[in-house]
Amino acid sequence: MAVSGLATRGAFARAPRRGTASRLLEDERWLAAALLLPTVILLALFIAYPFVEGVWLAVTNATVGVPGKFVGLANFEMLWNDSIFRVAVWNTFVYTAVATVFKLGLGLWLALLLNRNFRGKAFTRAFILLPFIIPTVLSTYAWKWMFDPTFSVINWTLFQLDIIHSRINWLGDPGLALISVIIVNVWRGVPFYAISLLAGLQTINPELQEAAAIDGAPPWQRFWHITWPLLLPVTMVVVLFSVIQTFADFQLVYVLTGGGPANATQLFATYAYQLGVGTGLLSQGAAVSLAMFPFLLIIVVVQLLYIRRVEVH
C-alpha cells in the first residue's frame, strides 16, 4: 500500500503544470473567442474602422487637411438639393439595372454554350475570361479609343458597311454616353457571370436532364423546369456580388467620360470622387458615398432573403 501510494504521488508530481491560458482554452467558449479574434481584428481594422470613419466624415464639415466639426445631417440636406447628385442617383440605378440584366442574360447564354462538349472547350473557357483578367483601366482605355469621336473603329466599320453615313458621337451624346459605359461594363462583367454560372451548371446531375429528355421534355422545358431552378441559388449569389460591384463602379466611368458630358454619366462613386478629391470637400464626398449604403443595404437584404427562400424550397 505504502509503495503504491508513493508511486501515485511521484506520477502526479511529474505531470506538467497547466497554466491559466491552457485551462481557458480547454473551455470551448474561450477557444472559440480566441480563434475568432484574428478575424475580428482584421474586420475591425479594414472594414469597420473605414466605415465608421466614413460615417463620421459624412456628418462633419471636414475638408482636406482640416478635421472639421460635427454638422449633423447638413451634408445630406445639401445633397438632397443638389441637382448633380440627383442625376448621379438616377444614372447609378439605370447603369446597375441595365448592366445587370444584360450581364445575366449574356452570361447565362454563354455558360450554357460552354457547358456543351466541343473541340477547344478548355481554350475557349480560358479565352472568355480575358475581359475579366485584363486590368479594367487598361481595357477601358482601349474602349475609349474605340468610342473616340474622331478615330472610332466602330464608326469606321459601320461606315464601311454603309450602315451609317455620319459618325456616331458615342461619348459626346448624353444618352449614348450612358449606353456606351453600360456596354463596356457588360463586356467586362459577362465572363464573371459565365464562369460562375458554368460552375453552377456543372453541379447539376446530368441524369436529371437525361430522364426528362427520355420523358419527351423539349430543351426549353428542360431548362425551365430543371436547369433554372437548380441554378437559381448560384445565380442569386452571382447577381448579388455583381450588383454591389456595379453600383459602386468608379474606374470605368472615370476613364471613359469623367462623369461627362454635362454629368450624363455621373455615378455615385465618380461624384463622390469629384467632391472629395477634386474639390477637397471630404465630408460631402463621404456623404455621397454613404448615400449608397441604404440603397445597397435594401438590395442586399432583399436578395439574401430571396436566396434563403430558394434554398429552403
Partner: protein, 441 residues
Amino acid sequence: MPRIGRRKFLKISGAGAIAARTGGIAAILASGKAPAFAQGATVHWLRWNDFVPSSDVLLRDKIIPECAKDLGITLNIEMINGNDIQARTTAAIQSGTGPDVICALNNWPQLYADSVAEVTAVADKIGHDQGGFYHVSTVVAHNGKKWLGVPWCIVGAENAYRKSWFDAIGVSKFPNTWDEYRAAGKKLKAKGQPIGQALGHSFGDPPTFWYPFLWSFGGAEVDKSGKKVVLNSKATVEAVKYGVAFWKDCCDEGGLAWDDSSNNRAFLAGTISSTLNGASIYLLAKREPDKYLTEKGTPLWQDIRHGIMPRGPAGRFSCQLPMTNMLMGYSKQQDAARKFLAWITSKPIYQAWFDSQGGYTVGATTIWEKDPIWNKDPVMAPYRTVGRGAEFPGYPGPADRNAAEVLSKYIIIDMFAKAVQGMSAEDAVKWATSEVQKVHA
C-alpha cells in the same frame, strides 16, 4: 589594433552626429519636432508627366545630380499623370506623409491652404529677383496673407491653326473677334475642317477656352468681391447663345467627349483646323516632321501657326494654366525643401529647365518673356506673353476655394454643354447659377 564593438560604434556615431549637427538634444526637445538638415536630406518632389518629354529627361539626368552637388540634397522626383495629382495630394495630407513638394496645377493651392508650409520668404525673394510674378500666378498661389506655394510656371494656351486651310477660305491671319472666328469656322466646317474644342470633364482645355469665352461677353460667376453670384445675367445668356451657335456652325461635335489630349490627336491627324491648346501640338509636329504630315505630304509643323483668343463684346480675355510648387506642412524636410525650392526656381537652374520646354511654358516671373528663346521661332511668339493679362476661374473675384469648387464641378463648362445638348440658354444659365449659389452658400 583596438576593436570597436557594435554598441560602442553606435554610441559614438549617434551622439557625435547629434551633438555636431544640432548643438544638443535640448534644442530638439524645445522645437518639438525632428531636426531637418539640408546636408544629406532627401526631398521628394511630385509633379506631372511633362507634355515635353525632354524636360523630364533633363530633371532626371541633370537636375538631380546638380541638386546633390550644390545643396547636398538627394532629390527624388516622381512624375505621374496630371489628373492623378489631386488624389495623391489628398491621400498625402490626410495620412500626414508623402511628397515633400507637390507641383500643383490651376488653383489647387487654394484647396490645400491649411496643409501647406510657409514659403513666403522664398517666393518673395524669387519675385523680387525676377521682376515680380504674373497676376495669374499670384491669384492662384497667394491667399491674401501668405504664399501657399512658390509659383513655378504658366502653361500657355493659344489657338493652333492650319495656315493653309485658313488661307484657302480667304483668312490670312488668325481672326481678331469671335464674329470673324465664327465666320471662318463656318466655312471650314462646311469643307470638313471644323474647329476642335473640348467641352467635357477635363482640367485643361475646357476651362481655358470656355471661361475666357464667357468673360469676353461680359459674363462672370461672381462680382469683384467674390461674394455675390452674378452669373445669371444678360451677358451670360448672350455668351451661352453665341457659344451654342459657334459650336453648331464651326466645331467638331465630338468635342463633348474630348479630354485634354483628344484635340492634339485630332489636329495631328488633320481632322480639325484650329484648337486652343498648349504649344505641344506644334512642338511635337516639329520634333517628328516625318511622322506628322499635311495632306500634301509636307511636314505639318510648317503649316501650323498660333493665334490669341478672339475679342468679344466685353474685350479679349485669356485663361492660362499656372503651376505652383507647394511645400507640404507634414514634410519633415522643410528646411531642405525650402532650400531646394529657392535653388530650383533661381535663374541659373530654372534657365536649364525653361530652355528644355522650348516655349511650352513661360516662367511665373516676368523676366522669362525677355528670354532669347522667343527669338528662335516666330511661330512660338504668341506664347511669350501668355502671362500678361491672363485671368483665372473666379474672375473678377479671387481664385479662392469657391472658385476652385465651381471649376472642379465643371459648372461653367456644363452650362455650355447643356445648352449645346439642347437646353435653352436661359435654363442652362439658371441651372449653373443655382449650382454656383450652392457653392457660395
